[in-house]
Symmetry: C2
């Protein structure tokens, strides 16, 4: 026996009814979030580039792509879904291992479900298993794997895609062992790609290659039996230190979806407390941009290191500027994808506030999860906001309504408001659908 | 500047005329060998399994697959060529880094050339560059990369495929930097797969993913600029110790194709001296199986460790049995793929000799490159053969005629003798072809 065999045994014995109701609800939340992210990223230039480069290789148009008019073979649909759902860095995060597990797993599943009839309960079951295995493999190899330079969303997520698709295919235990092995021997993606399009390729390839691993295993493509734990298997090769008991201990007792988090803003997480505080000031006081005399952000030192930029001109630069995030939050009362465009960065109201904004790491009581904001108005009044837990953290999770708002904000970049509402509604009740293709179809732009 | 930029600069400045005539001849030899290997592996069950599993995903049938009747999109053709050319472990080997570089590089190129018009000189140029870069990256990271558990034929070969296709596409230096980065972030394949079909997946995916990296880069899919050497780039992440000066020093002055080797027999290389010696005894003495009283193999200790099996029943077991290789060599005067089938292992003549064969590590003067064979006949005579350099080594390379014989032996497993002759002839003059598709087409079985 070994980790691979034990894990495969548990996975192939699992049935949809084994998923507790609270886990199913967290799966719904994760799916609402990731479908929204795929729609938010669907018009990113990287998608056109990928289709331009690889379109001549596309197979029969059996699958729809989330948020896109093109149809393609399911493996390429998985690739495209993985790219779109991660490219804006707006997808879910497991704070324990930094993996964005939904992107590789759901991207493969929704491509499969577009081309094959899959019921809601079966899809949720497969998603939960793929997510669970990804996060556990991530925990077992963290921080060694990530510190070595792997982008674990791809290099661990590939297992989740293989397991999710393997679950829908009804693989035997032996086939699941092969699928896991074939996933592990395709695991890839390095952090050198952070800041380039290459980063989004990682969950895309993880979805596509994990999916293929399951298809190959089903037909008898063999793998070494110890794909995870073998002396030359994935864990020893990629993670000098690891504790594989974390992959299998307590399977079915605790669920990793419970420790998943959803980003409220599409920028570096260290900016979130300042943005959150400024949105609260907007909502509570409705300050006009012209009335702002000074916006003083007292932040943790890491915020200055990672997102200290003040002289910015593009939407991309805005993602690395805490003063931009705070300013746009104060002016617009929101900080979605539309607030990180070149247009938003150049918006005269936002610019006026940003030019009066400062960020200093001058208050040792402010942690990375918090912020202290002083908003000085032209009449001399000073409004203050102090936060100690950031919105979107496990301590302050996004509510279902906040996830819906995030979905609408992103989805309407790709489809009409009416379509967005339908897709949102179907995402929330994905586990009741007779055929999940209905949800995928709802995300396809009209015309 | 850095390794990636320097390498990309040299690659994109290179022209077909820059390849010296002796390097072109070695490229011909490598191509004759790898096309033969692809034909020898074309009927392996793994190919049917792969087509069965992934056929529904295949794109337009723009490319032929070496030795197969199916046509598919070029990326899947690259995958299939990579699998067939490596699955019998009969392809070329770089003794300095254990990489089988031709499989990933030529598999991608011949898939491309089947779907796009490519001249012989352009193909040879692209092959030489892809091969050169693969071997140099292998040298720069050996032994660290291999010892860590990577199957470098896949995890290094992916660069060669990207560079070869990128050369045909005429990428700019910036695009080549991206292609290299996108190759490195897809690099995969672990040694846990040795002994399973997963091993052959590695050069297949390397060919396919490297090819895709070049296509993506051409259309503007960006990558980090330091894909090889960046702190979280391929070399630091996969190879704790490396010397990247070996990638770029002396480019264009020395050529890695000159240190490439070709296996004469499709089994573990440690068996080769014994097989070679027994074939020589066969050729010199023509001993009848019934006249063999004893066949005593005095071998290096490693031969016993790796290939000491004596009680064997299948062709696969035969690959790990030095007494089988020696016996079949003595009886048939050859040891090709046909000598490693279940039928050959069960052949009464071969079996009779094998049962009288022994292998002992009892002579300290015998090195891993050598053997001392004593053949005792029923009339009491003892014939001896002592070898100190193994056929196929750099010291005793296969001649062009021996490569042709190896080609015919493999090719006739997939096509008629007449077709095999045509494909062989076209392979030898690949650099003169106006359109390399002619060579690929010649390998497709009739009907």
């Amino acid at each position: 026996m070994g980790t691979t065999e034990d894990l495969a045994g548990w996975l192939t014995a699992s049935r949809p009814d084994d998923i507790p109701a609270d886990v199913t609800h967290e799966a719904r939340r994760a799916l609402v979030n990731i479908v929204g992210c795929a729609l938010g990223g669907a018009r990113h230039p990287v998608v056109d580039i990928t289709i331009d480069a690889l379109g001549a290789m596309f197979g029969p148009p059996d699958a729809a792509v989330l948020g896109r008019p093109e149809r393609t073979d399911p493996l390429h649909a998985a690739l495209l879904n993985g790219i779109t759902s991660h490219v804006e860095d707006f997808d879910d995060t497991l704070p324990r291992n930094y993996i964005h597990a939904s992107s590789p797993v759901a991207s493969a599943l929704l491509a499969y479900a577009s081309a094959n009839r899959v019921s809601g309960p079966d899809l949720v079951h497969a998603f939960v298993l793929g997510f669970e295995a990804t996060s556990r493999l991530g925990n077992a190899t963290y921080p060694s794997h990530y510190t070595a330079g792997w982008h674990s969303t791809g290099s661990v997520g590939v297992f989740g895609a293989a397991i999710a698709i393997g679950t829908l295919l009804g693989l035997t235990q032996e086939q699941m062992i092969w699928a896991i092995g074939l996933a592990g021997t395709q695991a890839a993606g390095v952090r050198e790609q952070f800041g380039s399009m290459g980063k989004a390729l990682h969950p895309g390839r993880a979805a596509q290659n994990g999916y293929a691993a399951a298809l190959l295993a089903q037909k008898g493509f063999t793998s070494g039996a110890h794909g995870i734990e073998g002396p030359r298997g994935w864990a020893p090769v990629t993670s000098p230190e690891h504790d594989l008991s974390m992959v299998t201990d307590g399977l079915g007792e605790s669920w990793e979806l419970h420790v998943n988090t959803y980003k409220p803003f599409p920028c570096g997480i260290v900016n979130h407390p300042a943005i959150d505080a400024c949105i609260q000031l907007h909502d509570e006081h409705g300050v006009a941009p012209g009335d702002v005399a000074a916006l003083r952000l007292h932040v943790a030192p890491l915020v200055i290191d990672l997102c200290g930029k003040t002289d910015i001109h593009t939407g991309l630069e805005g993602k690395f500027s805490v003063v931009h995030g705070a300013s746009v939050g104060l002016v617009r009362g929101r900080a979605g994808l539309r607030e990180y465009t070149d247009e938003a960065v150049g918006d005269p109201d936002v610019k006026a506030v940003r030019e009066r904004a400062t960020r200093e790491a001058d208050d040792p009581t402010v942690t990375e999860d918090g912020v202290h904001v002083e908003l000085e108005l032209s009449d001399g009044r000073v409004l203050e906001k102090r936060l100690t837990a950031s919105l979107g953290n496990l301590q302050r999770p996004l509510t279902d309504d906040q996830l819906s708002a995030k979905f609408r904000d992103q989805a309407t970049l790709a489809v009409t408001a009416e379509q967005a509402e339908l897709a949102l509604e179907l995402s929330w009740r994905v586990d009741e659908l007779a055929d999940v293709a209905q949800l995928v179809d709802a995300t396809v732009p009209d015309g």
